[in-house]
């Protein structure tokens, strides 16, 4: 038996505007709301709304079909503000009862690495948001960019989650297969679901690549690959960005048709079915303990954190940001806290990555700034303004004693 588990990540950052030295101390509006609105609506029209339509028809046609999603809190906010219609199409999917939602940090942040306290608050914020918008209580957790290690698994288990997702990176799996569930070292019960990155990336990255020897990818061919897992795996975890459909792979590549026909073809094999992450956890045992001490992620060829924290600019920016935590929280100023949290979105550090000069152009495609240096300067300018606001706050609230 092979259970196919689709999980799609839905995320749009709250893009910061190009904040200049002239703005510091004068202008506390950090966001490029025009760009955010335009991008959200563009992606909604190209991806979210049409793909949801496909998914809804699949759910109606095949009672066996199931999928899972994870939404960042900040993309949900943007749906509410800019495109409630798109949000509604997601809610319709969840209403079928065969769609699971995962929890993550509200701000798509790296908080776990810098402040467990902040991490926990953001996870709770996210959980509340999901309950409010979808009436759903997630039981499985995925961290930003599938960043993961033993320590995180333990922390998340203690928060009450039954499962956690990560990347089935070769360098940690070795000879082992991602097509089973594992138990993270140092934990008791929580189960680890690993992305089958080959089969996932065949759709997410290679689908329209004419240089790929398997191009064009047909439903028949892909189904054979999944069928072949029968006998040496319990599950095939297909984890990918939802924007794969219509945005990364444009409609004219045939990606929608592929998705429309895939479930039917997979179900023709009597030993295949679909399961949501929590069902995998219920139905399959962990086959072994897995020790992942060093942090991994699903990004780039390195599958590590170098996309966000690989250079000195990124490290300095993230450290300076988290250094403000104590003062921000003592200030009791909701607006300051909210601005500080929005800056934590990992995309802000991704834009400062200098790897892409040699490492292909994936980063460049997603970068609203001309280059990593510009994004760093802009981020640091905002941080300076945040600091000025914080200091001003302290001057007017003498009862709060803060030493820097």
């Amino acid at each position: 038996m092979v259970s196919v588990c689709f999980y799609f990540q839905v995320h749009q950052p709250h893009r910061l505007r190009n904040y200049t030295v002239f703005d510091i101390g004068k202008n506390h509006d950090y966001y490029d709301e025009n760009k955010n609105r335009n991008i959200l609506n563009k992606v909604a029209n190209k991806c979210y709304i049409p793909t949801n339509k496909v998914m809804l028809s699949l759910l109606k046609k095949y009672p066996e079909f199931k999928v899972a999603y994870s939404f960042t809190g900040i993309v949900l906010e943007q749906f509410e503000n800019f495109n409630p219609e798109a949000l509604n199409t997601f809610q319709q999917l969840v209403d079928t009862g065969r769609v699971e939602i995962l929890d993550e940090t509200y701000h798509h942040s790296l908080a776990f690495l810098y402040s467990k306290e902040e991490f926990k608050e953001q996870v709770n914020m996210h959980s509340r948001k999901i309950r409010k918008l979808f009436g759903f209580k997630p039981q499985v957790f995925r961290n930003t960019e599938l960043i993961y290690n033993n320590e995180l698994a333990k922390f998340v288990e203690d928060l009450g989650y039954k499962g956690i997702l990560s990347e089935g990176a070769d360098h940690i799996l070795g000879w082992r297969s991602p097509n089973f569930l594992y138990r993270p070292m140092t934990t008791n019960k929580i189960k680890l679901l690993l992305k089958n990155y080959r089969l996932s990336d065949d759709i997410a990255f290679r689908f329209s690549n004419k240089g790929w020897k398997e191009h064009p990818l047909t439903v028949g061919k892909y189904t054979q690959w999944i069928n072949a897992v029968n006998g040496n795996g319990n599950c095939v975890n297909l984890f990918m960005d939802y924007e794969t459909f219509g945005e990364h792979q444009w409609e004219d590549t045939g990606i929608f048709e592929f998705m429309r026909h895939l479930p039917g073809e997979l179900l023709r094999h009597p030993d295949n079915n679909f399961m949501m992450p929590s069902e995998l956890i219920k139905n399959y045992n962990s086959v072994a303990e897995l020790d992942i001490h060093n942090l991994i992620s699903w990004a780039d060829v390195e599958r590590d954190l170098s996309a966000w924290l690989g250079n000195r600019m990124q490290q300095s920016a993230v450290h300076s940001l988290y250094q403000l935590e104590k003062d921000i929280k003592l200030s009791n100023n909701e607006k300051l806290l909210s601005d500080w949290r929005k800056m934590q979105t990992s995309d802000n550090f991704y834009y400062m990555c200098t790897k892409w000069f040699n490492d292909g152009d994936v980063h460049k495609y997603f970068n609203p700034y001309d280059n990593p240096y510009e994004s760093f300067i802009s981020f640091m300018n905002i941080l300076n303004d945040l600091r000025i606001r914080l200091d001003g706050q302290k001057a007017t609230v003498p009862s709060v004693q803060i030493s820097r």
Binding site: T20, V21, F22, N311, R312, M313, Q315, S316, A317, T354, F357, D370, N371, P372, Y373, E374, F376, I377, M380, N381
Partner: protein, 404 residues
């Protein structure tokens, strides 16, 4: 392969990047097994031995240098030439040698240089910029060998598009149409050639310039004590945007009065720039260093915390590469050819004073940005060497000789 090359300057007797480029290119060509005879309009008599000695010291054994007596100096406008005739007593004594105006001079150079084509064996003629085009055409008539013209700048770059000299334009256009092939130093320049001179894009090959590596380190700069230094290096002419440099300096000083600005170079706008600095009230913060040569150039880059090239129209622009070689971060105008080939720098439109100000303050204020640009730029500039452009020139030669 023997190439008869017409230029107008060669180090150390250069007033700008063209001489440096010709030096590097001919050296690279020698490396690629090409014999170059380099014809110059003007070799100062006293310095002649030095000049030849320099060449042999540089081990460019395959290059022969030939001088033709004229009063031409690179980058001269016709007005400047008229003035130099009035001022130059020696010249006025020898009217028979010197033409009455720049165009007569260019024409005379072409006759003389063309004669060289009679006795100097060659397979192909290669000439650099408009003053040599007529010489090239003449040589082509005499020897019947194919003509390649190399466009380092057009009249539209030198004038910023205002007050284009029709006679210069005519010579440029004639040269481009007469040539069997055209080499442009950037796509930026190729577009100019295609748009303004009516040339078939198929006839124009882009060969980006390179840079010679020189690892000399200097240190101990008195000016540096407590001050950050921002450098402008280039001819002080409309094309290079020194006025935008001053407007930006003014803005930067409003934010950080401890920055010093150095203008290294000379040109027809020097006097007006000194006046403008005074008008802007920043005369004490802007230093005019005059025209620098040899090691002083590298010394100036190393002294600077930041190099700015605000060119209005820069066909290529070697100076940012020189700065990067000296581990100095650079900000360059987007209206430049070099911006097509480097990533580890900041880019701005030449007229965008606020953007440049923000970039300058950002780099001076955030040491991680400064460090990252410094290291990234230094790494990136290593990939440049003159063998590559020379190899591309040889490709052009071969194609022309085969009549493709």
């Amino acid at each position: 392969m023997k190439v008869l090359m017409f230029g107008w300057e060669f180090p150390p007797f250069n007033t700008g990047g063209l001489g440096t480029a010709c030096y590097g290119l001919t050296k690279g060509l020698a490396h690629n097994g090409v014999n170059v005879t380099f014809v110059l309009p003007h070799i100062p008599e006293k310095a002649k031995s030095d000049f030849v000695k320099l060449i042999s010291a540089g081990n460019i054994s395959k290059i022969k240098l030939r001088g033709v007596k004229t009063n031409l100096v690179g980058y001269m406008t016709s007005e400047e030439y008229r003035r130099s005739l009035l001022l130059n007593k020696a010249a006025s004594k020898r009217r028979d040698i010197y033409g009455r105006d720049l165009f007569a001079e260019v024409y005379r150079y072409s006759l003389q240089a063309g004669l060289i084509a009679r006795y100097e064996p060659h397979d192909l003629i290669h000439c650099h910029d408009w003053m040599t085009y007529q010489a090239g055409i003449k040589a082509r008539k005499i020897s019947g060998k194919p003509l390649v013209i190399h466009v380092h700048a057009t009249e539209f770059d030198r004038t910023g598009g205002h007050g284009v000299n029709q006679a210069v334009y005519n010579i440029e256009r004639e040269g481009m149409h007469a040539a069997d092939s055209i080499i442009a130093v950037s796509n930026f320049t190729k577009n100019r050639i295609v748009e303004h001179y009516g040339i078939d894009p198929m006839k124009v090959q882009v060969v980006h310039n390179a840079i010679e590596f020189n690892g000399d380190q200097y240190g101990d700069f008195g000016l540096k004590k407590g001050n950050k230094v921002v450098l402008f290096m280039g001819r002080v002419t409309l094309q290079k945007g020194p006025d935008y440099f001053l407007y930006t300096a003014k803005r930067v000083l409003e934010i950080d009065p401890n920055v010093r600005f150095i203008i290294a170079g000379s040109g027809d706008m020097t006097a007006s720039m000194i006046e403008k600095a005074a008008d802007l009230g920043i005369a004490d913060k802007v230093l005019f260093a005059g025209f620098l040569r040899g090691p002083d150039i590298d010394r100036a880059y190393q002294m600077a915390d930041l190099y700015v090239m605000p060119s209005v129209s820069e066909p290529f622009g070697l100076t940012p590469l020189e700065a990067m070689r000296n581990k100095t971060p650079v900000i360059i105008s987007k209206q430049s050819g070099v911006s097509e080939v480097i990533n580890n720098c900041l880019k701005s439109d030449f007229w965008d004073i606020d953007r440049m100000t923000n970039q300058i303050i950002g780099v001076l204020r955030y040491k991680e940005a400064h460090e990252a640009l410094k290291e990234g730029g230094y790494q990136e500039v290593q990939k440049f060497n003159w063998d590559e452009p020379a190899r591309k020139c040889v490709e052009v030669y071969n194609r022309v000789l085969r009549g493709i």
